[in-house]
């Protein structure tokens, strides 16, 4: 089974739960925010000759939009305390339908959350086992939330890794993203053997409804879709599987949520590799 097939399987598996899960989207990425911050800083510098500090991590960055384990996959978490005092927080694992997800973690056993305390400038790492005696080696998928009772700034990322016998491991990072704006864009490329996927989590107590506008590379609207995502629900899917209008095309998909606060991440798979990418905000199309 090649990588493309496996990636398709894990995306397809998520789509099997769509009946009760529903789809959604939203977000803003730290990278986008960094660009935004730099832009604001540049403007400020022009007007006042003051260089603003670069901001790359926000206190609101708390969603890992994609977590996988089993079936040849495992997920590692890397976390660092950016405060000048100790911090305590939890990493909570959720299934697609918002229930607790039990994940086998190296050294911790099967857990549904991991509590972390870090000293000033301290960092840590933990990873799922990929399988365990308590689980059949099937793929489990969901998302994770960095939950805390303070506004401390925690940096980090997750890395999901695929291991196939006889081939080098493949990895892709999952940045921590914020629940943010109601308006964002996902670039897609479903041509030349590539396929674009989407992972979305709704870390709020409200359901969200998301009108979706799909555009080709000329900016023409080629399709309209609608997504609904329940509270603490998540989904990840392969775009052509749900929206056939995107098959064999490139373009951009615009999402405008009814509420506040979903987090999204793009997933891109080719013949032999895969990666993740941030959705974009600061759109002036309307």
């Amino acid at each position: 089974m090649n990588f493309r097939h496996v990636f398709g399987v894990f995306l397809a598996l998520s789509s099997l739960s769509m009946g009760q899960t529903l789809v959604g989207i939203t977000g803003i990425s730290t990278f986008n925010k960094e660009l935004l911050a730099e832009r604001h800083a540049a403007r400020a510098a022009l007007s006042a000759n003051v260089i603003q500090p670069k901001v790359v991590v926000f206190a609101g960055d708390r969603v890992f939009p994609q977590v996988v384990n089993g079936g040849g996959w495992k997920t590692s978490f890397f976390l660092v305390n950016l405060e000048n005092h100790p911090v305590t927080f939890q990493i909570l694992f959720f299934t697609d339908d918002g229930n607790d997800m039990f994940v086998p973690v190296d050294g911790l056993g099967v857990v549904r959350q991991v509590s972390v305390t870090l000293d000033t400038a301290g960092s840590t790492e933990f990873e799922s086992t990929g399988f365990s005696n308590n689980f059949s080696d099937t793929l489990q998928q969901g998302w994770a939330l960095l939950s805390q009772t303070t506004n401390d700034t925690i940096g980090g990322m997750a890395v999901f890794r695929q291991r196939v016998f006889g081939r080098p491991d493949q990895e892709a990072t999952v940045p921590i993203v914020s629940q943010f704006d109601s308006h964002f864009v996902l670039l897609f490329d479903n041509t030349a053997g590539f396929v674009t996927g989407l992972a979305v989590a709704n870390p709020t107590t409200d359901s969200v409804a998301i009108p979706v506008t799909i555009r080709d590379q000329s900016g023409n609207v080629i399709d309209n879709q609608f997504i609904r995502l329940g509270s603490y629900n998540h989904t990840a899917f392969n775009l052509p599987d749900f929206w056939p209008s995107t098959a064999g095309r490139r373009g951009a998909i615009e999402f405008q949520t009814s509420g506040f606060g979903v987090a999204a991440l793009g997933l891109r798979a080719g013949a032999a590799a895969f990666t993740s990418f941030n959705v974009l905000e600061n759109i002036n199309w309307r």
């Binding site: 909570l92 959350q113 939950s147």
Partner: protein, 222 residues
């Protein structure tokens, strides 16, 4: 001899005068005494105890679902450190809160209870709010213009924590609502604070939290 007598006389009069001065001083300006049942008045110590309490709750292993845990965490985040101007210096309170929060969450994560009990146990081991809920010394909070909810919360938490410790050590069942203090819900109440009903509600809520912390890990399964 005569000189010694004069000195003793002078010393006695001085002490008496000093005593009278202290007694006539506004009670809110007296040095902190140990038997305020809502905790210390000093801004930093007060902040430390609230931070410790919140940190202890934050770090305590939870039986809540992840969803409910996150909702609880968001609620705690939204309420902030609870500072009110009547507490004194905001900077000192906040610094104490930060230190207390770190200590509390670390202790809860490590299953350490000694500091919790040291901070919130009554200094007078014979005090029992089940027998007495009238404490003139607790008027100090009203005099310092602390809010009703805050006084009820602070006193209720301590009463509950001490009751929980007592019940655990005595091998009794987890039973906060059978306690007389919980039923009355008015320990530390002063009509000048406001509604007795509101006081009782806040007191009982904190009493149960304190009782759970005092009773210890077994309380989580009750």
């Amino acid at each position: 001899m005569n000189r010694s007598f004069r000195f003793l006389k002078w010393f006695g009069m001085s002490c008496g005068t000093l005593g009278l001065l202290i007694l006539s001083y506004p009670s809110s300006l007296l040095p902190q005494v140990a038997d305020y049942h809502g905790g210390p008045l000093d801004a930093r110590q007060h902040g430390y105890q609230h931070g410790y309490q919140d940190g202890y709750e934050s770090g305590r292993p939870s039986t809540l679902s992840n969803r409910d845990q996150d909702i609880r965490n968001q609620r705690l985040k939204a309420q902030g450190n609870g500072y009110q101007p009547a507490f004194g210096s905001e900077a000192e309170y906040s610094q104490g809160y930060r230190e207390g929060f770190d200590a509390g969450s670390t202790d809860a994560s490590n299953g350490v209870r000694s500091r919790l009990e040291e901070l919130f146990r009554w200094q007078d081991p014979n005090f029992n709010p089940d027998r007495s809920h009238s404490d003139a010394s607790d008027q100090i909070y009203r005099e310092n213009k602390w809010s009703l909810e805050h006084v009820a919360g602070d006193i209720g938490y301590r009463d509950g924590l001490n009751a929980g410790i007592s019940d655990r050590q005595s091998g009794r069942r987890y039973q906060p609502r059978l306690r007389v203090a919980w039923k009355n819900g008015v320990h530390g109440y002063d009509p000048a604070l406001g509604s007795k009903s509101a006081y009782r509600t806040a007191y009982r809520l904190s009493y149960e939290t304190g009782y759970q912390d005092g009773f210890g890990p077994a309380a989580a399964n009750r």
